[in-house]
């Protein structure tokens, strides 16, 4: 049936924006390959997300005329395109000023004064989301700049669009950004500032995954090669695909995104699928509040991600790789885009990688503000141009993944671990850390510590040692609790921090490492405010697909507000637990299943609310 398109006309700028983006992206390759354009939906559908970004970047919102034009060109039903656009926080469906200031209101920044910043911005710059004028501001979920909060991201639509980060930000910075745009602002801090261990030669010598951050020029492929780059890929090709998988399996490397699934098993499962094409998705949508390690790796050492992906693709037979990069990371996108281009020019990506006789190329898919898209199946829907809602499992991605084909989905940090595995071998890698948790782990230490940042340590150091490494809590304050694993994780008390940071150690301590968030809270943190922010985060980020999470996160927040502000109902605590239980038991994906974890641990371990 022919689609019906709205009559609203696009503006010249909107047409130009779509002209610039459609026809150059290779994202559509996957779908076109599988369906030849004759399936239920348009072969061009995977270009939808990029086309929406193009409109948003150029004119600052998705207008009816722009959406209609985009739908016509991509042969996507306008209602569908609207449904997709409205899923993402970064797309505006009502006209708003071209300059938008996103002020982080999330957990780590809260411990660093985001509350006061938001109050002050509201007092001086007016209410959030105001549509008049040339600039507006609004509170934002975690921007992944936790080591130097409170953080602010400024986006300015136009040709070219501009983006800038202010961190740490003062109310004056925000006022300047609202008045004159980001150009008047100081250059953001060097990437290496997020790696305190790089400051001294002694501690820098122990770095494996972060060793090149601040050392190499992230924009130079030659510099990368001069610092050991592409030796791992050579080693991989020398040993052949099966041996690469064997080494990864023997290394006992497990996923670093939070689920800790054995990487070798995942790779072997995809490699063994007779169905073609195989896809690789590098999950760089790190949106867990307090997580910023993947940002640091991509900004500081983007070629390492490309090389690691190439090794994975070689071993598992993937021809196309996607990096799903969260939309709030302008510098990471710039560095990675540059690196991919440079790698293509040098034949490190393309139809014949390094002359080794296999094809592999990488495309960046830019997220648009949706925590759920970091979920391993929601990420497929998002790349394919659908709403970023999780799929039900089984079938699992290794069998039916992106475009319905076998797919490896790995976190950025998981992938870069493959480089040392290729160089020293699986068994040697497995000897680092503990028997149950091998290798090193990059922890994101934020909150009330002297030197926040990413810390790479072998599995097995204790939480206390890690906090000490970061300088401990500032003088005059005392440690109250540590939030492990972010909003989806759990709290531990100040007297519980002597457990080893391993998967088994965390399990024994009844907590989680998650994606590596270690958010340190001192006695100045108002736990009621903090917990309400966690509840608000899940309420905001629930995709809305399943009832337990869609309604449960709302009821959880309501009960929490009553318990901390009032009026308290007698049975509110029971209600909170019962809602928590159904979210954990019956939600489709990990978001709903963990939406109650941190709050539960605050009640049970910290004695909050009782």
């Amino acid at each position: 049936m022919d689609l019906r398109f709205p009559e609203a006309e696009p503006t010249v700028a909107e047409v130009q924006a779509l002209d610039a983006v459609l026809g150059v992206s290779v994202v559509a390759q996957g779908w076109e390959r599988e369906h030849g354009g004759a399936h239920r939906a348009s072969a061009l559908r995977p270009r939808l997300l990029g086309a929406l970004h193009a409109l948003q970047d150029r004119v600052g919102w998705i207008s009816p005329g722009g959406l209609g034009e985009l739908s016509r060109r991509l042969d996507v039903p306008p209602a569908d395109a609207y449904g997709v656009a409205s899923f993402y926080a970064m797309f505006a469906l009502e006209q708003r000023p071209t300059t938008v200031v996103h002020v982080c209101a999330d957990l780590a920044c809260q411990t660093l004064g985001a509350g006061a910043l938001l109050d002050s911005v509201e007092a001086t710059c007016g209410i959030p989301n105001e549509s008049g004028g040339t600039a507006s501001w609004h509170p934002s979920p975690c921007l992944g700049l936790c080591e130097r909060g409170p953080a602010v991201l400024v986006t300015v639509a136009g040709d070219p669009p501009r983006e800038a980060v202010i961190a740490p930000a003062t109310p004056d910075d925000v006022a300047v950004a609202l008045r004159t745009g980001p150009n008047a602002l100081a250059e953001q801090a060097a990437v290496v500032a997020a790696v305190p261990q790089a400051a001294s030669a002694d501690s820098a010598a122990n770095l494996v995954l972060l060793k090149r951050v601040g050392v190499v020029d992230p924009l130079s492929v030659d510099d990368y090669r001069a610092h050991g780059g592409y030796q791992a890929l050579r080693a991989a090709v020398a040993m052949g695909p099966a041996n690469v998988i064997r080494e990864v399996t023997e290394s006992n490397l497990v996923g670093r995104g939070g689920a800790a699934f054995p990487a070798g098993r995942k790779w072997a499962a995809v490699a063994g699928q007779p169905v073609r094409t195989h896809y690789l998705v590098c999950n760089a949508d790190e949106s867990e509040p307090g997580t910023f390690k993947d940002r640091v790796i991509i900004e500081g050492d983007p070629f390492s991600v490309i090389e690691a992906m190439t090794i994975c693709a070689y071993a598992t037979g993937c021809e196309i790789g996607y990096v799903y990069l969260r939309g709030e990371y302008p510098r990471a996108r710039e560095h990675l885009q540059h690196a991919i281009q440079a790698a293509r020019e040098r034949g490190l990506l393309g139809p014949d990688v390094m002359g080794f006789g296999f094809a592999f190329d990488i495309e960046i898919v830019r997220g648009a503000g949706a925590y759920i898209c970091g979920e391993e199946t929601a990420i497929f829907n998002s790349i394919e141009g659908y709403r970023g809602e999780p799929r039900s499992k089984p079938p699992f991605p290794v069998e039916v993944g992106l475009f319905g084909k076998p797919t490896v989905v790995n976190n950025v940090e998981t992938l870069v671990n493959v480089l040392p595995i290729m160089l020293i071998g699986g068994p040697a890698f497995a000897s680092i850390g503990t028997t149950g948790s091998t290798g090193t782990k990059v922890f994101c230490v934020s909150g009330s510590v002297e030197r926040a940042g990413v810390y790479e340590v072998p599995f097995g150091v204790t939480l206390r040692e890690l906090i000490d490494l970061a300088g401990g809590v500032p003088k005059g304050r005392s440690l109250k609790a540590v939030l492990m694993g972010g909003a989806a994780g759990s709290f531990v008390r100040a007297d519980e921090i002597d457990f080893p940071l391993t998967l088994e150690g965390a399990r024994a301590a009844n907590t989680t490492l998650g994606s590596g968030v270690v958010m340190v809270l001192d006695d100045s943190v108002d736990m009621a405010v903090f917990l309400r922010r966690i509840a608000a985060f899940f309420r905001d980020e629930s995709c809305g697909q399943c009832v337990p999470c869609r309604v449960g996160t709302v009821r959880q927040e309501e009960a929490l507000v009553r318990l901390t502000i009032g009026p308290r109902q007698e049975h509110d605590m029971v209600l909170l637990r019962e809602v928590g239980q159904v979210m954990r038991d019956a939600s489709i994906c990990g978001l709903g299943q963990t939406a109650w974890s941190a709050i539960e641990s605050a009640i049970d371990r910290l004695g909050v609310l009782t």
Binding site: L3, P77, G83, G544, C546, E558, Q581, D585, A586
Partner: protein
């Protein structure tokens, strides 16, 4: 003690759309344990199929007989041993040796909570069976207090044929699937927004006459909660004259074209108030076009009397 009985699976329950001629190998039987009883069900059947074959009642809301299950409501969850979380029986396929429990504490808790969460946010008064399940599972939607956020909103009446009362919408996706690729291919509506703000919408919320809607009414046919309703039914409910117990259903053949779809005319006081088609009908699978669904006024044009 476990007892073995060979389950009879009504294959039309698995997919009622016209079946392709089976050319593959015959389906093997899979043995699973359901509430302590060993049963055999055909490979590819869902846990819900297995439950129905044994007569085990499982409540469902978003499950649609003629649509692919989206397992969004989570009312049909059951406990499967070695699974960390509960699984939706409507879409999880049976696996050999699966041990399924349909009536554990966790299952009852989840069903009670799903009913409560929906009941506290959505008007379920026009959803058949829900009141009974509420009682069965001890759900009390009122305990979330007066301030509990709801989806309450004015009824959308923008055409003469049907109304959209999204205060009753549980967001089961069935209307979107029926309008889109699974049946009608009109793609007039979508799920828009996110989280609790997710809602069924046209592009930018334009009214139906400006949208791609072709008024086939197939969305009404699959709506489980009465959020989509014939305007006749809506008006009669408003007047308090809607009385299902006083209605008769009469099957006939649509007079408009040569396809010859079966129509079920719902009449009250000798007036047609609603038209449906049987879900298990081999031609329509419950679907009709605008003429069959809504073109009945000529039958009761009293000016001719």
């Amino acid at each position: 003690m476990t007892q073995t009985d060979t389950a009879r699976i009504d294959t039309t329950r698995i997919d009622t759309r016209p079946q392709e001629t089976p050319v593959g190998l015959p389906r093997r039987a899979v043995t699973i344990q359901l509430d302590g009883h060993e049963i055999k069900v055909p490979e590819g059947a869902t846990i819900l199929d297995a439950c129905e074959s044994r007569g085990t009642a499982v409540p469902t809301l978003c499950y649609g007989d003629t649509l692919d299950p989206v397992n969004a409501c989570r009312l049909c969850v059951v406990e499967v041993e070695n699974s960390r979380v509960l699984v939706p029986s409507c879409s999880r396929k049976v696996e050999p040796g699966m041990v399924v429990h349909t009536d554990t504490e966790r299952v009852r808790h989840s069903r009670k909570m799903v009913l409560e969460l929906l009941g506290s946010s959505v008007d379920l008064s026009a959803a058949p069976s829900v009141a009974g399940w509420m009682k069965q599972y001890g759900a009390d939607p009122t305990r979330y207090g007066e301030i509990a956020k709801t989806v309450k909103q004015p009824v959308k009446i923008d055409n003469e044929l049907y109304v959209r009362d999204y205060s009753r919408c549980i967001l089961c996706y069935k209307c979107v699937d029926a309008c889109g690729e699974q049946w009608q291919n009109s793609f007039a509506i979508t799920v828009a927004g996110r989280g609790f703000d997710a809602h069924i919408s046209t592009e930018f919320g334009v009214e139906l006459p400006e949208s791609a809607c072709v008024y086939c009414g197939n969305c009404i046919a699959v709506c489980p909660t009465g959020a989509l309703m014939f305007k006749t039914e809506h008006d009669m409910r408003e007047l308090g004259t809607w009385d299902e117990s006083a209605q008769r259903q009469t099957d006939t053949i649509c007079p408009y074209c040569g396809v010859g779809c079966t129509l079920t005319l719902h009449t009250q006081d000798n007036e047609i108030v609603k038209v449906t088609s049987p879900l298990d009908h081999s031609v329509t699978s419950g679907n009709l076009c605008i003429k069959g669904r809504f073109g009945f006024q000529h039958v009761q044009n009293h000016k001719r009397d």
